[in-house]
C-alpha cells in the first residue's frame, strides 16, 4: 500500500514540477508573481479536452495544439498586461494586474466550458501491471515518464543550448544581457510561452490521470506552483522539481493516511511555514540589498 501511495505521490509531484517550472522561470527573470499561470494552463487543458472529446483528434496532436494555445495565451498575457509594468518599481502593481489577468482568463474559460467538474478521457488505456510487487497503473507510469522527460529536456536545454544560457543570463542581469545583443523582449516572451506549454502538458497529464478537470483547478494550480517554487527555491529548475515532489508526496501521504480534506490547508500551511523559515527555499540563493 505504502509503495503505491509513494509512487502516485511521485507521479503527482512530477506533474506539479512541470506546472511549477514555467512559473518559477518567469519569476526568476521578471520577479513577477504570475497569478494567471494556473488559469492559463487550465485553458489549454480544456482546449485539449474539447479536441479529444468533441473532435476525436489523436491525443498527441491534441496535446500539441492545446500546448501551443496555452503557450500563446501566456505570451499574450505577458505582451498586453505585464510588459509595460516591467520596471522594478511597479512590482506590486504588476502583481495586481496579474490577478486581473487571471480573472479575465478564468472568466473566458468559464463562458466556454462552465465551471463544473468535467470528465477527462484517458489518453492511454488504463491498465494495471505488477511492477516490483506493486500494483501500478500504466497511466501513472506514462505520466511520470513524460513529466520527467519534459523537465529533463528543459534542464538540458537551459544548461547546454545557447538560447537557454541566454535566458539564464537575462535572469541574472537584464541590462547587461541586452548589451550583449540578447533580445530581451523575445527571451521574456519565449519564457512565458514555454511556461504555458509545459503547464498545459502538466495539466493534461494530471487531468488524464484523474479523469477529471475543472476550472477551480486553475487557481489551485497557481498556488501549487507558488508553493512548490517557494519550497524548492524560486527561479531554480531543480528547485521546482524538488518542490513539486515534496508537495506531491506529502499531499498523497496525508490524503491517504490522514484525511483528504486536510490536503489544501496543508498546502497553504506549507507555504506560510516555508516563507517564514526559509524564504529563499531549499535550493535558492539569498540576496542582499545594496544601498
Amino acid at each position: 500500500m505504502l509503495g503505491e501511495v509513494i509512487l502516485v505521490g511521485v507521479m503527482v509531484g512530477a506533474v506539479y514540477a512541470l506546472v511549477t517550472v514555467g512559473y518559477s522561470m518567469v519569476f526568476g527573470i521578471l520577479k513577477l508573481m504570475n497569478f494567471a499561470h494556473g488559469d492559463t494552463y487550465i485553458f489549454g487543458t480544456l482546449i485539449c479536452l474539447t479536441l479529444l472529446a468533441k473532435y476525436n483528434i489523436h491525443p498527441v496532436l491534441a496535446i500539441l495544439i492545446a500546448a501551443i494555445a496555452g503557450g500563446g495565451l501566456a505570451f499574450l498575457v505577458e505582451l498586453l498586461v505585464y510588459r509595460r509594468l516591467r520596471a522594478p518599481q511597479h512590482r506590486l502593481i504588476s502583481m495586481i494586474t496579474a490577478l486581473g489577468a487571471a480573472y479575465v482568463v478564468q472568466n473566458i474559460s468559464e463562458l466556454q466550458w462552465g465551471n463544473q467538474v468535467m470528465s477527462f478521457p484517458s489518453i492511454v488505456e488504463s491498465k494495471f501491471v505488477t511492477l516490483l510487487g506493486l500494483q501500478v497503473s500504466v497511466t501513472h507510469i506514462i505520466t511520470l515518464f513524460v513529466a520527467v522527460l519534459c523537465i529533463a529536456v528543459l534542464i538540458l536545454f537551459m544548461r547546454y543550448s545557447r538560447y537557454g544560457k541566454a535566458i539564464d543570463c537575462v535572469s541574472q542581469d537584464m541590462d547587461a544581457a541586452s548589451l550583449m545583443g540578447i533580445p530581451i523582449n523575445r527571451v521574456v516572451s519565449s519564457v512565458y510561452f514555454m511556461g504555458g506549454v509545459l503547464g498545459v502538458v502538466g495539466g493534461v497529464l494530471y487531468s488524464s490521470a484523474y479523469n477529471a478537470v475543472s476550472l477551480g483547478m486553475g487557481f489551485r494550480g497557481t498556488l501549487i506552483a507558488f508553493t512548490a517554487a517557494v519550497i524548492g527555491g524560486i527561479g531554480s529548475l531543480g528547485g521546482a522539481l524538488l518542490g513539486g515532489m515534496i508537495l506531491g508526496l506529502s499531499e498523497n501521504l496525508i490524503g491517504v493516511y490522514v484525511s483528504s480534506s486536510y490536503r489544501d490547508p496543508l498546502l497553504y500551511s506549507l507555504l506560510i511555514i516555508m516563507l517564514l523559515v526559509k524564504p529563499t527555499g531549499i535550493l535558492g540563493n539569498s540576496d542582499q540589498t545594496k544601498v
Binding site: K165, A166, C169, A176, A177, M180, I182
Partner: protein, 236 residues
C-alpha cells in the same frame, strides 16, 4: 564613424543630458570625462540603445541608430562594457564569453576568439569553468572587456573600466585598452581619472551637468587651465 548630435535625455525624473554632441573617427581613443552624475553613463546608454533620448540623433557608420534595438546595435558593430563590470555572476567565465558572442553565428570563429582572449588574459583561461561571481574585481573587469570584444565590435564603449581597481590593475587595464586600439578597435572611454585617461586618449570631451563643457585634443586639455579648474578643482 560615430556622430552624435544634440542629445537630450531624461533618466527617471532627472534631466540628465541637455544637448550633447560628439564625434569619433575610425581608430581613435576618445575620452569622455566628468564628475559623478555629470551624465556620462546616461550618454553611453543612449548610444547603445538602452535609453531613448528625448531628442537628438546618433549615426554609426552612416546609419542612423535612433530607436534601434540594442541587439541590432551590437550587430552593427558596437559593444558597450557597462559600469560596474556587470558580469553574469552565476554563469561560468566560458558562458559569459559565449554570451558576448550571442549575435554571432560562426561557431568556429567564436571558439577561436575565446581561445584568443584566454591568451591575452591568461587568468581567465585558468578559470574558464569557474563562476564569474567568484572572480576578483580586476579579473571580472577583464572578463567584462573580453566579453564585450566577443561581438567583434569596431567601436568599444568602456564605462569606467578602472573603477574600484587597485592602481596596478588600473595600469594594466589602460595598457590593454591601448593594445586593443592598436589592433584596430576604436574606443570611447568614460573615466573619472583625468590624467591617466588623457595620457592615452587622442581627444577628450568633458561633461558637466549634462552638457559638454570643454572638448579638444588630449595633449592640449592636459595643459588647459580650464580643465584643471573645472574638473579637478583646486584647493583654496
Amino acid at each position: 564613424m560615430l556622430v552624435v548630435e544634440d542629445i537630450h535625455a531624461q533618466y527617471g525624473k532627472v534631466k540628465a543630458l541637455h544637448g550633447v554632441s560628439l564625434k569619433i573617427k575610425e581608430g581613435e581613443i576618445v575620452a569622455l570625462l566628468g564628475a559623478n552624475g555629470a551624465g556620462k553613463s546616461t550618454f553611453l546608454k543612449v548610444i547603445s540603445g538602452m535609453l531613448k533620448p528625448t531628442s537628438g540623433s546618433v549615426t554609426f557608420r552612416g546609419k542612423p541608430l535612433n530607436g534601434v534595438r540594442t541587439d541590432r546595435i551590437v550587430i552593427a558593430g558596437m559593444a558597450h562594457v557597462p559600469e560596474g563590470r556587470r558580469v553574469f555572476p552565476m554563469a561560468t567565465v566560458m558562458t559569459n564569453l559565449e554570451m558576448g558572442a550571442f549575435t554571432r553565428k560562426d561557431k568556429a570563429g567564436v571558439k577561436k576568439d575565446i581561445e584568443r582572449y584566454f591568451d591575452i588574459f591568461p587568468v581567465l583561461g585558468e578559470r574558464r569553468n569557474q563562476r564569474a561571481g567568484t572572480l576578483s574585481g580586476g579579473e571580472q573587469q577583464m572578463l567584462a572587456i573580453a566579453r564585450g570584444l566577443m561581438s567583434r565590435p569596431s567601436l568599444l564603449l568602456l564605462d569606467e573600466p578602472a573603477m574600484g581597481l587597485a592602481p596596478i590593475l588600473v595600469q594594466e587595464i589602460y595598457n590593454i585598452v591601448q593594445e586593443l586600439n592598436a589592433a584596430g578597435t576604436s574606443i570611447l572611454l568614460v573615466e573619472q581619472n583625468v590624467h591617466k585617461t588623457l595620457a592615452i586618449a587622442n581627444r577628450a570631451y568633458v561633461l558637466e551637468c549634462g552638457v559638454v563643457a570643454i572638448n579638444g585634443r588630449a595633449e592640449e586639455l592636459m595643459k588647459s587651465e580650464e580643465v584643471i579648474k573645472c574638473y579637478l578643482g583646486e584647493v583654496s
